[in-house]
Amino acid sequence: MIIKKTKYDFSKLIFIHFAVQKHMYFNNAICENYGTFYMSDNIEDSSWNYFVPENAYLTLRNFDKIYKNLITNKSKASCICLPNYLIDYKYIKELLQEEKYKYKYESKESWLIYDNKKTLRQAKKDNITIKLLNNSKLMKDYLNVFADAYGGEKTELSPYGGLSKEYINSLDEAYKYDNNLAFILYYNNKPVSVASLCLHGGYGGIYGVGTKQADRGQGFSKYLMIYLINYYNSHYDKYLFLQTETDSLVERFYKHLGFKKLFEMEMYVKENFNEQQQ
C-alpha cells in the first residue's frame, strides 16, 4: 500500500538522495524543467546513472533530447526511472518500449521513509559495540564487512547481489565528509554489520546496510538499524529515507521496523546497450 501524497515532496526526495551522496556515488546533476539526469563518474551501472522525469507530458515532448543525452554518454548505462507518483507515467512507459527506443523493464525500487520521533526500544544483547567510522583502522573494518555483505550472489536476503569494485573504491573517499556517517557493529570485538547515514539539510538517507554472510540471521542489522534510527532522532528532526528492492525480504524488514512506503520507481534500461557500444 502506498501512502497518499501529503506533506512529502517526492521529486525533492530524489534530489536529496543525490545531495546526500554527491561525494559517494553520484556526482553530476543536470536539472531540466522536464526532469533531472543523475549521473556518476565513479560507477557505470544503471543504479547511479539515470533520468527521472518530473512532468510526464514535458518528458514526452522532450524525449528525443533526453534519449540523445543518455545515449551520447556511451560509457554509462542508458536508464530511465519512472516514479509511480507521476501522473500519466504509463504514457512514458509505452514510449520507452517502442521499437525506436527499446527500453526494457529491469527492476522496481521502493522508496521508504521513517518519520516517527519515538525512541525505539533496543533489544538486550551482550558483547555488542557500535562505533562511528572516524579513522583508517575502522575504515578497514568497514570495507571488510561491506565487501563481504555486498560481495556475494544475488539472493533474497541480499537483493543487490555482488557489487563491483567501483562501489567499494568510491566509499573510501566518501567518509572524509562531515555529512556521511558510517557505523560499524562489533560482536565479540569482531566487525559484523555496517550501515551509513548520509545527511543533507537535516534529512537522513540510510545506505549500505549489511551483515557479513556468515553472521546473518542473528539480529545484528536490526540492532544497528534501531541504533541508527535513535541516533538520527536524537540529533535531527526531519525524516529518514531509504530505497530497497520492491517486495523483497529486506523491504519487509524495514516495514517491520516502522518504515512506510512513499512510492515505487521502475527502472528501464536500454536493451543491448553494452553490445551497441562495442
Binding site: K12, F15, A19, K22, H23, N27, N28, A29, I30, C31, E32, N33, D41, E173, Y177, D178, N179, H200, G201, G202, Y203, K238
Partner: protein, 257 residues
C-alpha cells in the same frame, strides 16, 4: 566542508531558476547554467590551491565540453587564496567582481511595512515589470545589479508562480518600489532578484523588500537565510546593519574570450 555545503545549497535552491547543472569532483565543484551563459552562473569552485592547479587541464576540458568560457570563483576561506589568484592571473584570467555571502538568523524589528506576496497573474506581471525595469537600467550605488543582458531579461519574462519560490513586492505610499524573490528548501532559504525601481534608487527605501522577505522566511520557520551581494557595496553595508553577518566572499576570475 560546511562552506562547500553553502554552494550546493545555493545550487539546490536555484535549480529551477538560474543554475541547473552541478558536477562534484574530489578537487572542486562545477556549477553551470544552460539558461545563462555568463561567468556569474558558470564557474568552478576549487577545494584547495593544489586541487585547482593540479587539475587545470581537466577544468578547461569541462568548460569546453559545456561550451562555456573558463571561469573560477575562489572562496576567501581557502588557504593561499591570494596565491591562487596570482597563479590564475599568470594564466590570463581576469578578475571580476567580489561577491559577499551573508547569513541572517535574526528577525527584523521594523514593524510598519507594506509588502505583497505575489499570488495572482496580475501581481506577477507587476513583479516582472519591476525586475525588468530595474535590471535593464544602469547600476547605481543603491542598485548594484543593472545593465543585465537579454538572457536574464528573457528568464524573468518566463517566471511563473512556483511553490518553492515566493516573490515579494514592496509598496510605499501605495506605489511599487522594489521586489525580491525568496527560494525555500526546508529550513533553509535565500533571497535573490533584489530590484529597486530607478526612481527610488536615491534612498535605501527599496531594501525594505528584503526585510519583508526575512519576515516571510521566519513565518515559514526557516532558520537560515542566505544572500549574496557585491562585496563592500552599499547594500552589503546595509545588510550588516540589519542583522546579517558576513560568511565569506567569492572572487570571480575568468579567462578572456
Amino acid at each position: 566542508m560546511n562552506n562547500n555545503n553553502n554552494f550546493f545549497d545555493n545550487f539546490a535552491l536555484q535549480r529551477k531558476m538560474y543554475f541547473n547543472v552541478c558536477r562534484i569532483t574530489n578537487y572542486g565543484e562545477y556549477y553551470f547554467s544552460t539558461l545563462i551563459k555568463d561567468s556569474d552562473w558558470n564557474y568552478f569552485i576549487p577545494y584547495t590551491k593544489e586541487a585547482l592547479l593540479d587539475n587545470l587541464d581537466s577544468i578547461e576540458k569541462e568548460f569546453k565540453k559545456n561550451n562555456r568560457t573558463i571561469s573560477f570563483a575562489i572562496p576567501s576561506y581557502i588557504d593561499d587564496n591570494e596565491k591562487i589568484l596570482k597563479a590564475l592571473k599568470q594564466k590570463g584570467c581576469l578578475f571580476g567582481n567580489k561577491e559577499q555571502w551573508l547569513e541572517c538568523s535574526k528577525k527584523p524589528n521594523k514593524k510598519e511595512m507594506k509588502y505583497t506576496v505575489v499570488k495572482t497573474e496580475a501581481e506577477l506581471d507587476l513583479f516582472k515589470y519591476i525586475l525588468i525595469r530595474t535590471y535593464s537600467s544602469s547600476t547605481s550605488k543603491i542598485q548594484p545589479y543593472g545593465n543585465l543582458n537579454e538572457e536574464y531579461l528573457k528568464k524573468i519574462e518566463n517566471l511563473k508562480i512556483n511553490q518553492n519560490q515566493t516573490n515579494l513586492i514592496y509598496f510605499f505610499n501605495n506605489s511599487p518600489v522594489s521586489a525580491c524573490t525568496i527560494c525555500f528548501d526546508g529550513d533553509l532559504s535565500a533571497i535573490y532578484n533584489v530590484a529597486i525601481l530607478p526612481k527610488y534608487q536615491d534612498t535605501d527605501l527599496g531594501y525594505n523588500a528584503v526585510l519583508g522577505a526575512i519576515k516571510e522566511c521566519f513565518k515559514s520557520k526557516c532558520n537560515k537565510i542566505l544572500i549574496q551581494v557585491p562585496r563592500g557595496s552599499f547594500f552589503n553595508e546595509w545588510l550588516l546593519k540589519n542583522g546579517f553577518i558576513d560568511l565569506f566572499y567569492l572572487t570571480f576570475c575568468a579567462k578572456k574570450k
